[in-house]
């Protein structure tokens, strides 16, 4: 068993026993849902259904119900897509990359972060689908054998790479998440008294019996999947960034995009994790497992990735001037001083200035402040994508075609709707799934738990 130095802050507070861990995680599932859950779920569902209705209207009428025009072919649709994909980054990063780096603090947050990832990727995947003019023939992006002769997809197109990147990422994340859930489902199954629940969890747990052999395989599969998922964390957003980087639009055609997008994605993903977990730990009384130290760790990630993003912004500006390309220079000047200056400066404030506040220890350990900043960061990251997409194409090469983008109410409804659907899923997850990887957390109870760090036992062994 791994042990940590006593001066390190414990990862599990209080005097928790193994049973306590089980109780803490399983209790909310077994108990009746609190009234607040129903309230939140209803709100999320209503918003989500409004979104679904708007999408149906969009599909029935045409893309014209959005605010796009001849110059601006993408706006909120692809902004939302990139935003959600970015959010969907934290989960896999936490579970895969931090697993490889043996960061034990991830255990408290990885389950819900991964759930968030999967739901966010679902939402993200919606946008490239519904932004198509003819969704009903959307399957043509798949390289399927067909009766059209030698008709094949265009492997030059970054949009096609997206199809592969997103679908691979989604499937690997889903499998990874589910593998981790199996032992925890088994625990719930074993405790469940109601026959329906027992049967459901029994199916979900794939006959897990907790044998040593099972644990052995579990560990191995986790490691293999972590190894598989790690490159995906970097590839997905790199490929998403190619949608822009390989084009010839000034402001899109930028080699800096892949690392800049990945950093931005981790940045926004961690912010979303913070937003969700700060509420969840309170609501589900998980303060002992997800506490200030976890929040601080995540804030440090936010600070680092935020600084990378900030550097990238400044680099872009410098290169646009240094390159001497007239259109590129104008694109960036236009971002900062053109009609969309407010979007640019919102982005700069939210993404460059706010993470720098995390240098102050008091602030990065303040839960309330963290919650506030996590929202700000996600607003900023939405604006980042909006700035990149819309302010680049609204004024590109031919001034006579320059235009402005105004979102329609359907644009807004679809976006808000996806947030509603996302929370619907997340609330269902919080209600029926173990939100903490309880069996994994048990492995660090003795090494990093407060009670063990303070027990005489612990000192005797060191």
């Amino acid at each position: 068993m791994q042990r940590e130095a006593v001066i390190r802050e414990p990862l599990i507070l209080g005097h928790k026993t193994y049973h306590d861990v089980t109780e803490d995680v399983c209790k909310p599932i077994e108990d009746k849902a609190p009234r607040m859950w129903y309230v939140l779920f209803t709100i999320a569902l209503v918003i989500g259904l409004y979104g679904v209705g708007s999408i149906c209207y969009l599909l029935g009428t045409g893309i014209g119900v959005w605010g796009l025009n001849k110059t601006i072919g993408w706006a909120w649709d692809i902004t939302n897509f990139v935003w959600w994909v970015g959010i969907g980054h934290a989960g896999t990063l936490i579970s895969a990359v931090l697993l490889l780096f043996r960061q034990k603090w991830r255990m408290a947050i990885n389950r819900s972060a991964e759930a968030m990832t999967i739901f966010a990727v679902f939402m993200a995947g919606t946008f490239p689908l519904i932004h198509m003019g003819r969704l009903w023939v959307g399957y043509w992006v798949l390289p399927l054998p067909n009766h059209f002769g030698s008709l094949w997809v265009n492997f030059n197109s970054p949009l096609l790479w997206d199809v592969f990147a997103i679908s691979t990422y989604l499937s690997v994340s889903l499998v990874f998440w589910y593998i981790g859930l199996i032992p925890d489902f088994a625990t719930i199954r074993d405790r469940a008294k109601k026959p329906v629940a027992k049967r459901m969890y029994s199916i979900l747990s794939f006959g897990w019996s907790g044998k040593a052999k099972h644990w052995n395989r579990f560990e191995l599969v986790s490691l293999v999947l972590a190894g598989l998922a790690t490159p995906l964390v970097f590839s997905v957003h790199s490929i998403v960034s190619f949608d822009f980087a390989t084009s010839i639009v000034p402001g899109w055609h930028t080699t800096i995009f892949p690392p800049y997008f990945v950093a931005g994605a981790v940045f926004s993903g961690f912010a979303m994790v913070q937003t969700l977990l700060l509420v969840m730990r309170k609501a589900m009384k998980l303060e002992a497992y997800i506490h200030t130290k976890h929040v601080e760790y995540m804030n440090i990630v936010i600070m680092v990735t935020g600084s990378i993003v900030g550097t990238a912004y400044i680099t872009e500006l410098f290169i646009s001037w240094y390159s001497g390309v007239e259109y590129e220079a104008y694109a960036f000047l236009n971002r900062a001083t053109g009609p969309y200056w407010w979007a640019y400066w919102s982005m700069m404030t939210c993404n460059v200035i706010s993470p720098q506040l995390m240098w102050i220890r008091k602030l990065r350990r303040s839960l309330l402040f963290t919650f506030f900043i996590s929202i700000i960061v996600n607003i900023g990251m939405w604006f980042e994508r909006y700035v990149i997409i819309v302010t680049s194409i609204h004024r590109d090469y031919i001034p006579a075609a320059w235009s402005m983008h105004y979102p329609s109410h359907i644009d807004i409804a679809v976006y808000i709707g996806t947030i509603g659907i996302f929370f619907t899923f997340f609330l269902l997850f919080a209600r029926y799934f173990p939100v903490l990887a309880l069996n994994e957390v048990k492995t660090i109870l003795k090494g990093s738990g407060q009670s063990y760090k303070e027990s005489p036992d612990y000192h005797k062994n060191h």
Binding site: G64, W140, D396
Partner: protein, 1044 residues
């Protein structure tokens, strides 16, 4: 004893074997199945009953459902007996003639399966030499307007009556009446003239004819006729020849777009704008509004309409050599006038001065100047009179006064004029008309004037009937029908003859008009083939008599100019959505009427000077002559200070007349916009009500007062950014002196990019040396279609745009969608103004003042460039690489092809197109209610205008210019059938064909002898955005201004 022979089927029957008897009596060998099945008592207890029942139920429901799913029945009637000259799939062209009262052209009409679908100018016959204008090209759509009258109407009823009933009433009234007036647009048809004469002869009282013919032009040019009457003794409009004019001075005349025979002049003018020719004309323009002509001028000065007389006086004095005299003109106008005098003197005898004013005093001055210049006999041919615009303002005004004051004629025959709409006193005129005993009209719509007529005997659409014309003294032309009349309509020539008792109605296939026109002509077939012939004329030797009159143009603190827009003109085609959606070549605004004002002054006065999708323009109320109009104020660079411009031709159907759906305002999400009284709201306001009569002339300018009004008004413009931001690689221009004396590097430098050489130093290299991709193997292999656009020749008239729309089934989307930046035009004409920090469009001033903020604002009197933009068919097309499903690909002839049925609509291609020429089908334009309810081009009849060679695109796919690929295929096929290769000149795209100035050249770039190759290799050729490395197949040619 009868013997009946018996036949047996076999030996068994003969022998009556038991087996046979058994089989005969029991046809079914086993016990009767149905009876026994039904009588089976166990049936009710059968264990499979329920299942079978469900099976039967399931089958019946499924079958019933499937039967209900029958595909909609589309009727297609085959040719049972194929007409000899119609081959399905092969177009038939007819030579014909177009005349609508304000435009005249020799045209060719394309018909497919007997439907006219396209009109182009006839370049081989007729003096218009292929010149047309947007209205002429778009008129084909009017043929299929379902709102056109279909049947004879009697006042107060929407039901059709028999034409004989109307004829009877008219003839009865005519024979009783002592005072009959025929109100007609200028008649240039000898046959109609003849019919009118017959009518005059037939009805007379006491030996005096009771019938008087009054010709009425909504746009009057009577001052020119009167001035010539005073100077030369005969009131003629002369033939002008701009092709011989080395110096052209126009004072307020928009002669390239709307003035007199503008489509003829545009062709002539275009021929003088070649900088490589023996000479290039020098064009001076003095004007208040920014007109198309002004935007093409080498020198343009702003002036108030009341200053025109001063300018003309100044020019005359300068030419006579009396010194400049005391000039009340602005510095700028004086400088331009001085330059003009110099140029006119230099080109004496080969120059031309024209004036757009309808003021007699001013036209007399113009005549004096032209006399001084020796223009008569060279650029002005008085001998060959233009027979259009014969309306006499005095006569017309007298008639209208009679009608208004209650002493109207007893019978009024209205041959399709609409004075209630387009004369200043329309409202009182309407009341007066109602007091007339019998008004019979031949209008095609129950419009403002005709809706109150006793009878309407609607005329054919121009493409449905025979007519003849004599537009000029020496020119005779015929128009032939290209389709059997679609509705129950009657040629007005026939109606007149019937009313004159000279003919009988001939029904739908009437030959009355044909017989009249072809009577006595043995060579009629040849005439129809050519559509026209030249007549001998008696020479008219003019002697100039000096005569001066004072100008009647009143000056004011603010002055208004009433002008015509190229698509709308006098407002006679309000229900033509192609024209309503044609962006005004200068303002780029569609579907609307507005006040143009100088942006600098607007800013001072607190008006918004920018607008976009959501931000509209401020309203203002103008008071002219006791009439007021409230319209949005549009910032128009180049508008003279203290002047405003308002277009005529709007505000049609203010009482909700049935003049077509496109004539009215629509709501944001579809449907007609109704006012408080439930009436359809007209588009814009009627500026004809504000025209003033000074002396005996109708004037198109007046003093005005203007007040800001409440409200913001949404404007739908296809271009909301007006300068090129100093971007040199989009538009290139130079001046003639520099072009002729310097080498290519000065005026058309090749774009160079920087790279590092092997020593790590920067070096410049040509763009060809930077290439990520392998070239498409189209160079020197087979065809490579290319196009060149000469910015020097392009006058921005908009004909190409409408022709493209007609040829390629481009949908009309309506004002709301244009406002949202979603017009579908495959070809657009970008119009750039020079900003204050550019010496000319795209050229940064060398003094280092350039800044982007300043570059966004057009100069006060800016240089203008018109730049037609269509798909460039890039050889390294950025759209092709990004399509995930390969819906847009490169052809082996260098075309960038769009495969509609493969497109999934990601719009990535449009984002990556640097020219932004791709158009997305945001909605299902042919069937979504927002478009079908209001758009006459989208109903069953309107769809007959569709070109069957071009797919109608569905919702959710991308489309764009195809270089008229259907025509490319067709010329290839023709060449193949003739066992030859495609010859240069075989291929003409819709745009190149429509261009009056031959600015667009298309052809095979791989053919080194082709015009397009030569043009592309010319020293003036460049490719827009060349440095992006997309290798387009469209070349532009540097605009050369004859300045300096």
């Amino acid at each position: 004893m009868g013997v009946t022979k018996k036949y047996w089927k076999g030996i068994e029957e003969l022998k009556q074997t038991p087996d046979f008897i058994q089989q005969r009596d029991h046809e079914f060998p086993y016990p009767s199945s149905l009876a026994s099945f039904l009588s089976d008592e166990k049936l009710a207890e059968a264990s499979t009953g329920r299942r079978d029942f469900l099976k039967f139920l399931g089958f019946s429901v499924a079958a019933a459902t499937l039967v209900a799913c029958e595909a909609p029945v589309t009727k297609a009637v085959p040719y049972v007996v194929k007409p000899e000259q119609v081959t399905p799939g092969v177009a038939t062209w007819y030579a014909s003639t177009y005349y609508d009262g304000i435009s005249y052209a020799s045209i060719l009409v394309k018909t497919r399966e007997a439907r006219p679908i396209f009109i182009k100018g006839n370049a081989d016959f007729g003096f218009t030499r292929g010149g047309t204008n947007p209205q002429i090209i778009a008129s084909v759509l009017g043929l299929y307007d379902s709102d056109r009258l279909n049947g004879v109407r009697k006042k107060g009823s929407d039901a059709n009556i028999l034409v004989s009933e109307a004829d009877k009433a008219v003839v009865t009234a005519l024979s009783k009446a002592k005072d009959v007036v025929v109100l007609t647009p200028t008649v240039i048809s000898p046959s109609i003239e003849n019919a009118l004469e017959n009518l005059t002869l037939k009805y007379s009282v006491n030996g005096q004819s009771a019938v008087k013919v009054v010709q009425y032009d909504p746009i009057s040019y009577s001052a020119i006729r009167k001035a010539n009457a005073l100077n030369f003794g005969e009131g003629r409009i002369p033939s002008y020849d701009f092709s011989k004019a080395k110096t052209v001075v126009s004072v307020g005349a928009d002669f390239l777009s709307t003035w007199l025979l503008a489509n003829e002049y545009a062709v002539q003018y275009g021929s003088t704008r070649n900088p490589d020719g023996a000479w290039m004309s020098k064009h001076f323009q003095f004007e208040s509004i920014m007109s198309i002509t002004g935007s093409n001028a080498d020198y343009r000065a702003q002036a108030k309409p009341s200053e025109y007389v001063g300018i003309l006086n100044y020019l005359l004095k300068g030419l006579v050599g009396e010194g400049s005299g005391s000039s009340s003109l602005s510095k700028e106008a004086t400088a331009t006038a001085d330059a003009a005098i110099k140029a006119l003197k230099k080109a004496k005898g080969e120059s031309l001065v024209v004036c757009g004013s309808n003021d007699l005093g001013e036209q007399l001055l113009v005549n004096a100047i032209n006399q001084q210049l020796g223009a008569y006999g060279v650029t002005i041919d008085l001998n060959n009179e233009v027979r259009l615009f014969q309306g006499n303002d005095e006569e017309v005004n007298a008639l209208f006064s009679r009608i208004i004051s209650g002493k109207p004629p007893e019978v009024l025959i209205n041959l399709g004029t609409n004075p209630v709409y387009n004369s200043p006193n329309g409202v009182s005129l309407k009341k007066g008309l109602e007091r007339i005993g019998l008004v019979v009209s031949t209008a095609r719509y129950a419009d403002e004037t005709s809706s109150s007529a006793s009878y309407i005997v609607p005329d054919h659409h121009a493409l449905e009937g025979w007519c003849d014309y004599r537009p000029k003294e020496d020119h005779y032309a015929v128009a032939q029908p290209t389709i059997r009349p679609l509705g129950d309509t009657y040629s007005s020539l026939e109606s007149l003859l019937v009313w004159a008792g000279k003919a009988k109605r001939g029904g739908k296939d009437s030959s009355v008009a044909y017989d009249t026109i072809s009577a006595g002509r043995l060579d009629f077939a040849n005439l129809v083939h050519n559509s026209c012939e030249t007549l001998n004329i008696t020479p008219f030797i003019p002697a100039f008599t000096e005569k001066r009159l004072n100008s009647q143009t009143k000056s004011g603190d603010w002055e208004v100019v009433f002008y015509q827009k190229t698509g709308i003109r006098d407002g006679a085609m309000p229900s033509n959505p192609w024209l309503q959606e044609l962006p005004d070549p200068i303002s780029k605004v569609t579907w609307d009427n507005y006040i143009t004002m100088n942006p600098g002054q607007m800013e001072e006065m607190g008006y918004a000077t920018t607008f976009d999708q959501e931000t509209g323009l401020n309203m203002a109320t103008v008071n002219v002559n006791g009439q007021s109009l409230t319209l949005p104020v549009y910032p128009q660079p180049g508008q003279a200070a203290n002047t405003i411009g308002i277009a005529l031709g709007y505000g049609r159907g203010s009482s909700g007349e049935a003049i077509g759906r496109a004539a009215y305002q629509t709501k944001e999400y579809g449907g007609m916009d109704l006012d408080a009284n439930g009436l359809k709201k007209p588009i814009g306001s009627n500026a004809f009500t504000c025209l003033t009569v000074a002396g005996s002339q109708i004037l198109y300018s007046a003093p005005v007062s203007i007040q800001k009004a409440e409200g913001e008004y949404p404007i739908a413009a296809t271009q909301i950014h007006h300068t090129v931001m100093g971007r040199e690689s989009i538009v290139k221009e130079t001046v003639l002196g520099e072009y002729l004396s310097k080498d290519k590097e000065t005026y058309n430098p090749a774009h160079k990019l920087q790279r590092l050489n092997e020593h790590g130093h920067h070096e410049e290299a040509a763009i060809e040396e930077f290439d990520l991709w392998n070239a498409h193997p189209v160079e020197k292999v087979g065809h490579r279609w290319g196009m060149t656009v000469d910015l020097s020749s392009c006058i921005g008239c908009g004909s190409c745009l409408v022709a493209c729309q007609a040829e390629n089934n481009v949908p009309v989307v309506g004002k709301d969608e244009v406002r949202r930046g979603r017009e579908m035009h495959w070809l657009r004409i970008d119009r750039y103004y020079a900003s204050g920090v550019e010496s000319t469009v795209g050229e940064k001033k060398e003094d280092g003042t350039f800044g982007y903020t300043e570059a966004e604002i057009a100069a006060d009197n800016p240089a203008v460039v018109h730049m037609p933009l269509m798909c460039h068919h890039c050889n390294h097309a950025p759209c092709e690489t990004v399509c995930p499903v390969a819906a847009t690909t490169h052809s082996n002839e260098g075309l960038n092809q769009m495969t509609y049925n493969r497109c999934i609509g990601t719009r990535y291609c449009a984002n990556n197109c640097p020219y932004k020429v791709r158009r997305f089908n945001w909605f299902n334009y042919p069937s979504y209610k927002k478009f079908t309810e209001i758009n006459p081009a989208q109903d069953d009849l309107g769809r007959m205008v569709l070109n069957p060679d071009v797919t109608v695109r569905t919702r959710g796919v991308m489309e764009k210019c195809s270089f008229c690929v259907q025509r490319i295929q067709s010329v290839k096929l023709e060449a193949k059938k003739a066992s030859r290769t495609v010859q240069d000149g075989d291929l003409k795209t819709a745009c190149s064909e429509a261009c009056p100035t031959q600015a667009i050249t298309v052809g095979d770039w791989n053919d080194n002898s082709s015009n397009v190759y030569k043009s592309a290799e010319d020293k003036r050729s460049y490719q827009a955005l060349e440095e992006v490395g997309i290798k387009p197949n469209v070349w532009y040619k540097v605009k050369v201004r004859n300045e300096g």
